[in-house]
């Protein structure tokens, strides 16, 4: 216990040090992203730490959550709906009918595998070509509506905090079919399948401009907190800023970031509380039993595939919530910014370093790794500047240092990951093993 307290205190001290030595807005920016990382790390921890499943599609769940923010909170583009909505609906119903027909054929022709394959493939082919007849002109028309600022269907114009719930639902809805497909297969298949689906989700988000403007980005999404300019005009903020002796701009920025932090902390606490309850419930014990000895759990009559599916869907939903929170914090949805290194593998490093299977560990890991990730660049720049005085100007080490503070952090993250796996596989705060019965 004392180790946990000590590590958390050290983390808090590090954040305070950033506030005192660099700036408070920066410290709060790091804190907010830490909180979001914690939510994502908790999601991965449910899958890996609790259930022992290797999901490499975190990026996809996070992006799906981000899409939810656009679809829920962005203002609707009515012109786009009137011009393309109908045709889009026709195309969608054709695709749905095709899928239904394919399923019927699949079930009906189970006796003849060759004929079944050909028939299903032909159905799919015909359906797609037929749907294209409505889909292509519809999307072209939608993308032409006010292309510079809209060119997509827009959202529902609902409060943005609602989109976090929807983000969770999106994450879960995407995870379910993948989980169903791979449940019971070797773990490699889950890894490959999740990796694939996350790349495909991103490809869709980048290319389907009618949906969320693709790489043109949706900016100016509504916020759950006041705007800095409004705060700067408020009397009490001006008083506060005078009392603190800070510039008005900094005060407003800190207040906004604190408001975000309060939102995120509230979500985090709810998720943590729920997960903690789950861990101590029979479900949690059963999951650990399955993770530690699948065969024994199966022999005791536990439905391993079903439990895996539950943990997988739950974890993906939590990651989806985190993804939605991230887009809310950014105020924009940038499909081009999702990279597997940042959104999948970095989260994994957090869980492993913190201590998988243990929510407190995952939380600490998320804080620590995000902090290192951000500050590695600062440290790298400092190293480069120091190196500049020590090394000759054409020294290759110095050139590499100057070119790559941002690049070095990938090496650093990989190194941290393998070192922890090699020398301290249980992480900084190892999962507490319950006392054996006396």
């Amino acid at each position: 216990m004392s180790r946990t307290v000590l590590l958390y205190a050290a983390m808090a001290a590090a954040l305070l040090a950033v506030g005192l030595l660099q700036s408070w807005p920066l410290a709060l920016t790091i804190l907010n992203l830490c909180l979001i990382s914690v939510v994502m790390a908790l999601g991965v921890n449910v899958q890996w730490g609790v259930a022992g499943m290797f999901n490499v599609g975190t990026m996809g769940s996070a992006a799906a959550g981000g899409l939810a923010v656009v679809l829920v909170s962005a203002p609707p583009v009515r012109a786009a709906w009137t011009t393309g909505g109908g045709r889009l609906a026709i195309a969608a119903s054709i695709l749905l009918a095709t899928t239904a027909l394919a399923v019927v054929i699949w079930r009906g022709l189970s006796g003849n595998p060759l004929l079944r394959g050909v028939a299903v493939a032909a159905t799919g082919l015909g359906g797609v070509l037929l749907a294209q007849h409505w889909f292509l002109p519809a999307t072209a028309a939608i993308e032409a509506v006010d292309a510079a600022s809209a060119g997509y269907l827009g959202g529902l114009g609902l409060p943005v905090a609602l989109s976090w719930v929807v983000g969770g639902i999106f994450g879960a809805a995407l995870a379910w079919p993948i989980g169903r497909l791979t449940a019971g297969l070797r773990s490699d298949y889950l890894a490959v399948a999740t990796f694939g689906i996350s790349e495909i989700i991103l490809a869709v988000l980048r290319n389907e401009e009618w949906l969320a403007r693709g790489v043109k980005n949706v900016t100016g999404l509504p916020r759950p907190v006041p705007y800095e300019t409004d705060l700067q005009a408020a009397i009490w903020v001006q008083d506060l800023s005078a009392w603190l002796g800070w510039p008005l701009r900094d005060t407003a920025s800190v207040l906004v970031k604190l408001a975000y932090a309060a939102w995120f902390l509230a979500v985090l606490l709810v998720i943590w509380w729920a997960l903690d309850r789950l861990s101590h419930a029979p479900w949690g014990r059963m999951m650990r039993a399955i993770r530690d000895n699948e065969e024994a759990a199966r022999a005791m009559g536990k439905d391993v595939a079903r439990r895996h599916l539950q943990a997988f869907v739950l974890g993906s939903a939590i990651v989806g919530i985190g993804g939605a929170m991230l887009v809310t914090l950014d105020g924009q949805f940038t499909a081009g910014s999702y990279q597997p290194l940042r959104f999948t593998f970095l989260i994994w490093v957090m869980v492993i370093v913190g201590g998988s299977g243990n929510h407190r560990g995952a939380i600490l890991g998320a804080f620590l790794i995000w902090f290192v990730w951000v500050q590695a660049e600062t440290a790298g720049l400092w190293l480069a500047a120091t190196g500049a005085t020590l090394l000759a100007p054409d020294n290759p080490i110095r050139l590499a240092l100057e070119a790559g503070p941002a690049q070095l952090r990938y090496v650093l993250m990989g190194l941290i990951l393998v070192l922890v796996m090699r020398f301290s596989p249980r992480g900084l705060i190892p999962e507490a093993t319950p006392e054996p019965p006396k």
Binding site: L181, G196, V411, G414, L417
Partner: protein, 337 residues
Amino acid sequence: MSDVLNGLLHLTSMLVIPGLAYGSQLALGALGVTLIFGVLRFSSFAHAEGLSLGTALTILFTIWLQGHGVSLGVLPTALLGMLLAMPVMALIFIATDRALYRHFRRINARAEVFMIVSAGVMLMMNGVIRLMIGADGRDFEDGARFIVSARGFRDWSGLAEPLVIKTSQMLTIAVAVLATAGLFWFLGRTQAGRSMRAYADNRNLALLSGVDPDRIVRLTWVLVAVLSVLAGVLFGLDKGYRPFVYQQLLLPMFAAAVVGGLGSPIGAIVGSMIVAFSELALTFAWKKALAYFLPAAMAPESMMQLLSTEYKFAVSFLILVVVLLVRPAGLYGKVSR
């Protein structure tokens, strides 16, 4: 008659030859995936970065060779640079194995643990590549660009459609055929290859028969290094080197290996061809070809393109899903649940 000829030429230039070349590149990569899986029992997430690192090294060696006035005439100098990169990559892989994977083999870690460690290796390699060669693209193909160029063929044949064959495409197919032939000879006919297969088949039995596991593992990494450098360089020659495009090869390579059956070399090749041709066929605009083959009244109006090319790699996923649904062990694999 000339319509049919034109149509065939169009398909050959735009579909068959690019498909064979891409399939060969994938096959060299997927063979590496399947070898690692067969012998070391895990799917390496660092594999695509391995291809990229091998290519980056080759580019640096090629620049060095070109600086010394070395050239292969019509063939790209990278073919020589590649030979220098292979031993370096083999050393890198063996060193990685010594430092990391060996430990996890000894403690008999779960496959997931190996995958996580390979993800760490991937992150490190990715950073090293960025430091070494930057994030920008590079074109390192020298020598003759085309074996058969569009204009040359049109002048010679008098047909409307040209036949286009790039040097890199023919080179890819030729090298891939030679390399796989060499690999199969090694696995089937040499003592070392046979002990490797025995070890992959049944580890305990192989150990009982006196197979030295460390030697097998080293050999595997040497083979993986050779295959990775070949795959990476040929892909780079064909499409131009951009460090991060290689990450997008991971999914098609995995899909190819799974389709063929993880651990089966022949499966990796067949799987790669299936993946490559499906990708191209589903994202190919069939309008022109159909216009040649069908009577004028039936010529299609739309592009007849099922998926836009941005979704190329979605096809590999689609194939993967179908295989997982129908035959999880793959075409040539043993049932593994």
